[in-house]
């Protein structure tokens, strides 16, 4: 039986791991190479590395840093932030990434997803979908781009469906309303997306208590949970998280 995945996320800025609230007010959380090696050894199921400054500063993700992190990471490793073309994905895959996540470039031109999937397989093409509640409509969310700085009119569920058709093999879904608050994932959003597509959905944004992880895997129908603050600041270890989930009937790989 396929297990649910626990994924620590390294938000990287100026070669350091940082974490903010609602994508702002960043504080330092450590060295990406050290943290990556630690999570890999502690039994995390995957690692995500997001260059959070890449799009807004038009700066490419730091390839050398990805190479260094990858040398000590023996679990699937996803890299994202400012990726604009299939060529850049090729470069990152050669540098040690296993998957790449794309947001802004795919919204501008969904053919980037198609071209990347044709060249590298859809299993390494992750759609990063940053969503925010639509203030005008209940249970509707809109897509945000450029590291959360720009809101679009695109409906999040419709975009997820379209991205799957275009070649995305997975969706990394971040609730911008919940991100960094540690107040729990957006269950309604996660479930709405997970029930609309046939590819795995990674829930992100709002991880706080272990119950919040359980809730989004169970009621939210997510295939995986991504969390940053609770692991970086030592609130819970990967092992504790997995023991809790296993005790509540969620299939996990023992840490």
């Amino acid at each position: 039986m396929l297990t649910k995945r626990i994924i620590p996320c390294l938000d990287v800025k100026d070669n350091r791991v940082v974490k903010g609230v609602n994508f702002i007010n960043l504080r330092d959380a450590g060295d990406p190479v050290e943290l990556g090696a630690r999570y890999s050894a502690e039994g995390a199921d995957e690692l995500v590395f997001l260059d959070i400054t890449a799009t807004i500063r038009s700066k490419k993700t730091i390839v050398e840093l990805v190479e260094k992190v990858a040398q000590n990471v023996f679990i699937p490793f996803t890299v994202g932030g400012g990726i604009s073309s299939a060529d850049e994905i090729g470069l990152l895959l050669r540098s040690g990434a296993d998957k790449c996540s794309i947001n802004t470039a795919a919204v501008k031109n969904p053919d980037v997803l198609r071209e990347s999937a044709e060249r590298f397989g859809s299993q390494c093409v992750v759609l990063a979908l940053d969503a925010r509640k639509d203030p005008a409509k209940k249970d509707k969310w809109v897509v945000c781009v450029k590291a959360g700085t720009e809101r679009t009119d695109i409906d999040a569920v419709e975009w997820a469906v379209k991205a799957e058709k275009s070649g995305a093999g997975e969706i990394l879904l971040t609730s911008m309303d919940a991100d960094g608050t540690q107040a729990g994932y957006d269950i309604a959003l996660t479930r709405a997306i997970a029930e609309s597509v046939h590819i795995p959905v990674i829930a992100s944004g709002g991880a706080g208590t272990l119950e919040s992880l359980l809730e989004v895997l169970d009621k939210g129908k997510a295939s995986a949970v991504l969390a940053a603050s609770i692991f970086h600041y030592g609130t819970y270890t990967i092992g504790q998280t997995k023991e809790f989930l296993a005790a509540h009937g969620i299939p996990v790989r023992p840490a």
Binding site: F74, D98, Q123
Partner: protein
Amino acid sequence: MLVIIDYGVGNVRSVTNAFRHIGADIAVSCKPEEIQKAAGLILPGVGASGYAMQKVAPLADLICQQACSGKPLLGICLGYQILFDESHEMGTHKCLGLIGGKVIPIPPGRTVPHMGWNFVEPAIGMRLFEGMEQGKHFAFANSFYAEVEDAAAKVATTEYEGITLTAAVEKGNIFGMQFHPEKSGADGLNMLRNFVRICGVK
């Protein structure tokens, strides 16, 4: 020395990192003379079969000749899928034919790709699973799988949303894994250590 065959299709870096981490004497090459001298060969790969066969074509005869002469060969993910007779990924593509069988899509109605960690149960006596005979979790990322039609092959399997999928195969000196040992934590590294030992090198 072991040689990772670099034929231009994906994850060479990850596989190299993992072998280096366990202290294996490893080189990355596409040169026939280095492939001939190697104590064991690794055929990696990520992507689509048709493209991979196109890229591996100049080395296909050499790889088959080396494997048939008894040199240990390990195919990983796409490198595993092209060990079989043919692949039905976007058309029909003739593959290396080292193991009888074909690569077909995971039947519809399931989440595809098969993405994440799944429990793998080995057949009795599979050398790669030495020390892991009760089975372990390994990391998968695939939309196609191999249907093995080879009486000489031992097969490890995994259960996925109501069907049994082939996860790994062994036929004499030819080994293949659908999952990614280089990305399967400590158990994956142990599996690579087993392969290094089978090759008879440090």
